[in-house]
């Protein structure tokens, strides 16, 4: 167009920017509104199922960090009873090999990403914490769980409640 050098492109740009102001804002106001993470997320925690675990310690062998500690004793019916099951989340690299290795599907990834602590000691997840009912299981390597989990919210599809 002949008039293009006369600043028409710049004016078009200004209009585009003005139109942008009417669109939804994509900022997430984090503490007030939280997005639902992917169903197959590998978040920063492990969830353990006491009933399924046989104490075979396959997860300990699979861990590249040597990070999982398990202690068992022999209980009734000649079965292992897990007495201690610990994962130091400060050292864990969340590679997921233990979850994939577990032959009885007793170990899961959790879905929580808010795991920061004030002390390193608090990062060691013991048996009570790993079986805590508050923890949600992720569907990572556990496709059976997939349909029971809520759908991930993407910023572009989100019903926006404007926080100004």
């Amino acid at each position: 167009m002949m008039l293009k050098p006369a600043g028409f492109g710049l004016m078009q740009g200004l209009l585009v920017v003005l139109k942008n102001m009417t669109r939804k804002r994509i900022t997430e106001q984090y503490p007030e509104e939280r997005l639902i993470v992917s169903r197959r997320t590998r978040a920063q925690e492990l969830v353990w199922d006491r009933d399924r675990c046989t104490g075979c310690a396959t997860c300990v062998k699979a861990c590249p960090q040597g990070n999982i500690k398990i202690e068992t004793s022999i209980g009734p019916n000649n079965k292992y009873v897990v007495e201690k099951f610990e994962n130091d989340e400060g050292r864990c690299i969340f590679c997921g090999l233990c979850v994939e290795a577990c032959p009885y599907e007793a170990l899961f990834f959790g879905r929580s990403y808010e795991r920061s602590q004030y002390q390193r000691k608090a990062l060691v997840a013991d048996i009570d914490e790993m079986t805590s009912p508050k923890k949600e299981k992720s569907a990572y390597y556990r496709p059976d769980l997939y349909d029971s989990l809520p759908e991930q919210t993407l910023l572009i599809y989100r019903k926006h409640k404007r926080i100004l």
Partner: protein
């Protein structure tokens, strides 16, 4: 309008100190009370509006980029600039070991003081201001505004850093180049209004000069952007590319002074644009003081809008634009205005559409002829 003997009786110094320093409709006709009230009022008012402007810019540019902007400190995040100021004041003030200490210390002061001085001649309302009716008001603004160039060079030179020196040299080159079309744009306004007093210029605007002298308005706005070093002329402190240009070696409160000077500069340039081209405090219904500030924020809003939209120019495009495009066109504009004044004085209302058409045609024609080497064109 102004009663000289009365002022002279109240304050004998006033009669020789300045031509007409006291505004007649202000309650204190006392000379020193007037100066004290307006001096402190303007100084603290400018600081307050700087905080408002920083907040306004961040909140206004956010929706253009689909963001929300600061919203945590205070209602709608209005205390965010205060928090930033506190942070910056607590930072360590580092002076480079080989810096020219005196110059390095004086530069941040010298960049802020001229901006503050320029507020003296701005009329916030009819006759309300420090010296709104100064008979050389516009000359004062142009002269004092030029001091900032010195401060920029002092900052670059005093830091003893080759990058800041290069940045300062580019900055000075730009400011000197853009002062010329700026002054020529102002001259057109002076020719039409027949006075250099800011008060008189507002009084002369039955039609806003933005409509009567559109080319002067566009050129003044462009030059003001360059003087403020804002987009699209912010290549000297391009925040996404290089660090800071001439104030790279400043930290803590001295850096805050540069920041303050930058935003105070934005206020004063907006105020000058409002006074010269947008008929100052005039407006229907609302009180004139409110009108002035509405217009002030509107002009600054447009500057922020430009910042959200336009890419920055190269240094050769910058200088070429000033010297090859704006300077000749300003002279042509001046010639046209002079002819209009000779034949139709006082200026007629039907000159408004004529001037707008002339401006459009001239800008389009001149852009067609304006070419830079390097394969790209700069446009207005």
């Amino acid at each position: 309008m102004f009663n000289l003997p009365e002022v002279a009786a109240n304050a004998p110094l006033a009669s020789w100190w300045l031509d007409s320093p006291v505004s007649p409709d202000w309650p204190c006709h006392n000379f020193w009370a007037h100066w004290a009230i307006f001096g402190f009022g303007i100084a603290f008012g400018v600081l307050g509006i700087v905080i408002l402007f920083i907040w306004f810019e961040r909140r206004f540019i956010a929706p253009m980029q689909l963001r929300i902007g600061p919203n945590r400190c205070g209602p709608f995040g209005i205390l965010q600039p205060v928090a930033d100021a506190l942070k910056v004041m607590m930072k360590e003030d580092i002076v480079p070991a080989l810096a020219d200490k005196t110059v390095h210390f004086l530069a941040p002061i010298l960049i802020f003081v001229p901006v503050l001085l320029m507020f003296a001649v701005i009329p916030f309302q009819n006759g309300v201001g420090l010296i709104p009716d100064l008979n050389v008001g516009l000359l004062f603004i142009v002269a004092v505004g030029a001091i900032e160039t010195v401060a920029v060079f002092m900052a670059g030179y005093g830091s003893n850093n080759k990058y800041s020196l290069l940045g300062a040299m580019r900055s000075v080159a730009m400011m000197v180049s853009y002062e010329m079309p700026m002054a020529l744009a102002v001259v057109a306004v002076v020719m039409v209004s027949g006075t250099l007093s800011m008060q008189g210029i507002v009084m002369a605007q039955s039609v806003p000069f933005a409509l009567l002298l559109p080319m002067s308005f566009i050129f003044y706005f462009t030059c003001a952007l360059a003087e403020l070093q804002r987009t699209p002329f912010d290549l000297l402190e391009a925040e996404s590319e290089i660090i800071a240009g001439y104030h790279i070696e400043y930290s803590g409160m001295k850096f805050a002074m540069f920041y303050l000077g930058e935003y105070a500069g934005a206020i004063i340039q907006s105020a000058i644009i409002v006074t010269l081209f947008l008929s100052g405090w005039k407006g229907p219904i609302l009180p004139p003081f409110i009108w002035f500030f509405i217009k002030l924020f509107a002009v600054f809003g447009v500057i922020v809008w430009f910042r959200a939209t336009w890419p920055r120019v190269r240094i050769d495009q910058l200088m070429g634009f000033a010297w090859k495009y704006m300077l000749p066109l300003s002279l042509v504009n001046l010639l046209i205005v002079a002819i209009e004044i000779i034949f139709w004085d006082p200026v007629q209302w039907w000159l408004v559409p004529v001037n707008i058409v002339i401006t459009g045609v001239l800008l389009a024609l001149w852009t067609g002829m304006f070419k830079l080497r390097g394969g790209s064109e700069v446009d207005a």
